[in-house]
Point group: D2
Chain length 352, copies 4
């Protein structure tokens, strides 16, 4: 049995880890870290867990926790883990970080976009960017530190990845327009996240400045084998869960000047995702909708070629709390501990 | 492996059966009946099932189906099953009916409230009212026909049952005020169920005339050992899932004129529900909220005694599609086939 | 031109005052009081007012304000106005208080339910409870202080008032079950009011303890000419605006033992409301829905007689921010200043 | 008094016309056309109008109607008006068509995108595209036929228009990503528009094929003085009202290779919109949100320059039923009849 500790167990991502791990046969949570609710029953904070979780919330003592568990999930604010992680801890316990601290390889880029100093850059090199479908072969029993990808980034990257990798699109034209349910904003008590402020409205935010931009650029840059600069625009949707990415790029024309056909593009998606359990490339003409992946670890993807403009529109949908956070974190844990990759993640999307 | 056929698999309750049975270890759906979508892929109707269900929808041939499966779930309009059920079918297959056809023992009452003639009253006597926590001992391998309780009724009855049974309240004063998410209205294409009609509004409907009234009255009548007549008022909430029942009744005073104490009432709830896995009597002061049971088979219950008026306010919450329909139907199937009662129903409530 | 000052202009009720007064021909807001946003543009807090309101938010200096305006609306927390109101202020300016400070005539009752000491009980007697349809003849140019009714209370009282007044129901059996949109919870940044906490859920709160209870009891007590004790249970609906009250009471039988007829009850409603512009007693069989009054000052009312139980179910719907707060406050202002009662309140309900 | 007839008065756009015209001082509706509800009280279909509108719904007799009114609004399906409009009718009455029948000057384009034959192409030339802020000088007392712009198109065009007109952006790079509330889908009883299907989900639709595409292209083509081909992608938001357009284009660099500055772009917006009452170019850094224009005729616009990619992101928000349909139609009526352009349209955005 894998002993699990969670730091930040009372945020939405932390709570989703708790929900998912309830049905994981090889893991057991033994530490529900929550600075805000120390010594309170976890189920008094999340009443859905009444009778299911009897534990009290505990403080965030990472050093102590490292001695008691096999893996720590940190669902904490940016900079938190970077500020306290040590070689001593990493030598005792695996860490899966749901924050952005080790996602970006270039420290200067991290510090610029996040506006904070990185306190432990020495671990960045070692950290594996845990986008399992792309980096699966880098994650195994020797992996000590996973940088679990962001929610928008998971969706944005996976939606475009095969076409970038295979050079079908001009990456300089790539635009990612995305929208997320409100759980992505976290459980902090802020006026803009109040029901009446979010409900019955739709808005963009972080235009040309959202922190997931450099993360998408870096990963797609590896695929393209060159530097990638994109526009990424997130929007807030009055719903709890779900991210949809709508991505635009100019298709490279073939030697004869024609555009790639539907079948040619589909074949490229199938090449990369045909065997992937969690990625569903939809049938022709069926577009992703966030409701069809809600509560599950699936990524639903499809595309439309616009002959008029020569562009391809790629669309991807995930549940931001599952594949965009806790589900992918568990998927990474499974890879790190040699469990079946799907263990605990046979979550059937719940509709309506 | 229990072979399962569903008639009405493309309604919301039918779709929830499909979702739940995906993770049931001893049952397998082999017939997805849907008159509206014959020969279409089930997953083209419910895209969440893409890659999970490969079957096509089939017609509703009950006779043919009876030969192929061990149990049939009918998630069909009122009167449908009563019109086609025969002894021949029942001799071959178990039937769990999610409609109201066999819930009410008195045919005249059924015909009056539902406004249709009952075509097979000969099976009413045999049918077991499948409210598992109350009628568990009547459901076993010999049971052929289950009348699966209604959504409002499940919640309304279980919330008040112990106090009615033990005679703590004056049942003549019982008022059930309840509210449901919109999935309870089904997937029919009707103007009142359109997004813009339901969203941003709250209304009562079926006041003094809702069909679940006689069902609640009959069942609480058995508990009270006398005839019970109540007011039941349903409301429509702009949300997908969930039912909350708020029930009012005058507490019977003790010999000394005092009201029963919190502890005395709590003890009565615990007597009936203390060992029930799916019923969670909450801690003092914690009120049920539908979000805490969403996606699960739980019933969350609590109560408040109002010393000023001498009334008790009892509150119960369920997910109308799970404990109020498909979950309870699977629970009944488990009892009928000798499976573990929780099999397939370890559904952790999903929040947010 | 009536010069208006608002204290608490950046709460939801304050903002609704601003919206309504935009189209009031005889009033003009000159002071937008908001302690939290002093010196910020009002339209930077409520962007809907961009280009419509150029003013900056100002501090809450009641003494200074009294010199500058003809009427002050206080949309402030309980106890605020009671703590600062003086005879000197009242001698200079009219005050319409949207808080509960002067609603309840019995100080002990106020202090018990609100848990705070009342700092200026000397003004309670003078304050007029501003439920215009009932107390219109007490509100005129000499009125100095209006206690503007609560949102739940406005709806609850008006829905039952004629039947209580005329003695058609047994008030000891009256139960008020009500539900409100989330704007009723205010704009404070609290976790329970976050989008993800409210959305997709329904709950009761303040069961047997909500502060609007004694306010309803007092007013209905005046109508009944006796002490009234009721159960009042509020619920939270995942929508922005709207209150629906569903009220239950046993009808008094006539001398011959029969219940009053629909026509008899309707005649009583018409007697009190037939001439009221803002109260719409709906046609037989049409139930109130909050969406039909949204954005307007209307109260929609109807009832159903249940012959089976001898009870009447009365239903009323309002927009909590309009008739339940700012609209009624403006209606009171109109009465106090001799304007046409509807001035500024010809708000057509906005649907969808 | 302008006598108004509405054909399609019981659709959402028709109902919004009714709402708006309630407070129009110079117009009066005398004909509520609704084929589905002939002889039913209009207020029984839209209960918000109870006591405000006493009229019955009438059939769609355009010829008869032409004799009785001064202007007809047609809020009808595509092809309806084109099928019945005659010179005789137009010689008697002004027509403001909310459908697409006369929006597109090129018949072949119309027929291709709408998939229907145009039955009265002889009126296309005469019809004025009623985007008031751009075509105001073409609309006056002699105008007989207005093609009222589409909802997405109004928002999409106005958001980009000044930069296209002034040549600041490369129109070949223009991408319009937009999202709409569900009222845009109309009041037809279709499964995809049911509450449970729309709620808690976000999806794109009509990708590379939505009918508003050629309308945007044609109008921006006039501004650019060249042919324009764009990508337009609409999305469905689980809310009632509101459209947000997020538009991307590459900025043309200045002679020195630098991008235009914020101030330079702002000056261009101000040149076109500085005097426009209904267009609000927001302050620097403030992004449009649909909630801030809800219920009003405003268009809120702003932009962000991304130095990294050389693109500008333009954002615009409207209420799809007001500026996107009924409000703009009334604005056109005001211009056609010489009323004040704002008459009836001083609608303060309603929040929350």
């Amino acid at each position: 049995m894998i002993k699990v500790g969670i730091i930040g167990a009372t945020g939405y991502a932390g709570a989703e880890l708790v929900r998912i791990l309830q049905n994981h046969k090889e893991a057991q949570i033994v530490w529900y870290g929550s600075r805000s609710y120390i010594d309170k029953k976890y189920s008094s904070v999340y009443q859905n867990m009444f009778k299911l979780v009897e534990n009290l919330c505990q403080d965030d003592n990472l050093e102590e926790l490292a001695k008691q568990v096999d893996v720590i999930f940190t669902a904490t604010p940016q900079g938190y883990l970077a500020g306290i992680l040590t070689e001593d801890i990493l030598s005792q316990v695996k860490v899966i970080d749901l924050s952005a601290d080790y996602r970006i390889k270039d420290v200067a880029t991290y510090e610029k976009w996040y506006g904070i100093e990185h306190k432990s850059p020495q671990f960045i090199e070692e950290a594996v960017y845990g986008l399992c479908e792309i980096n699966r072969d880098k994650i195994d029993k020797d992996t000590r530190l996973i940088a679990n990808p962001g929610c928008y980034t998971t969706c944005s990257i996976l939606t475009a990845y095969p076409l970038v990798k295979e050079g079908l699109i001009d990456v300089d034209t790539l635009i990612v327009d995305a929208a997320s349910g409100t759980s992505g904003a976290g459980r902090g008590a802020k006026v803009p996240n109040l029901f009446c402020e979010v409900n019955e409205s739709f808005k963009a935010y972080g235009v040309a400045s959202h922190r997931h931009t450099p993360e998408i650029e870096e990963q797609l840059g590896y695929a393209a084998n060159r530097e990638v600069t994109i526009n990424f625009t997130p929007h807030l949707v009055p719903m709890n869960r779900g991210i949809l990415a709508t991505e635009y790029a100019t298709l490279k024309r073939k030697a004869d000047g024609s555009l790639p056909t539907y079948e040619e593009v589909k074949a490229v998606y199938d090449k990369y995702y045909g065997q992937e359990y969690f990625i569903r490339v939809l049938e022709k003409g069926v577009l992703p909708e966030t409701k069809w992946v809600e509560g599950s670890n699936y990524v639903d993807i499809n595309f439309v070629i616009d002959e008029r403009t020569g562009r391809i529109i790629m669309l991807g949908a995930i549940d931001n709390l599952v594949k965009g956070a806790a589900g992918q974190a568990v998927q990474n844990m499974n890879l790190m501990f040699g469990c079946k990759e799907q263990e605990g993640l046979n979550l059937v999307p719940c509709f309506p």
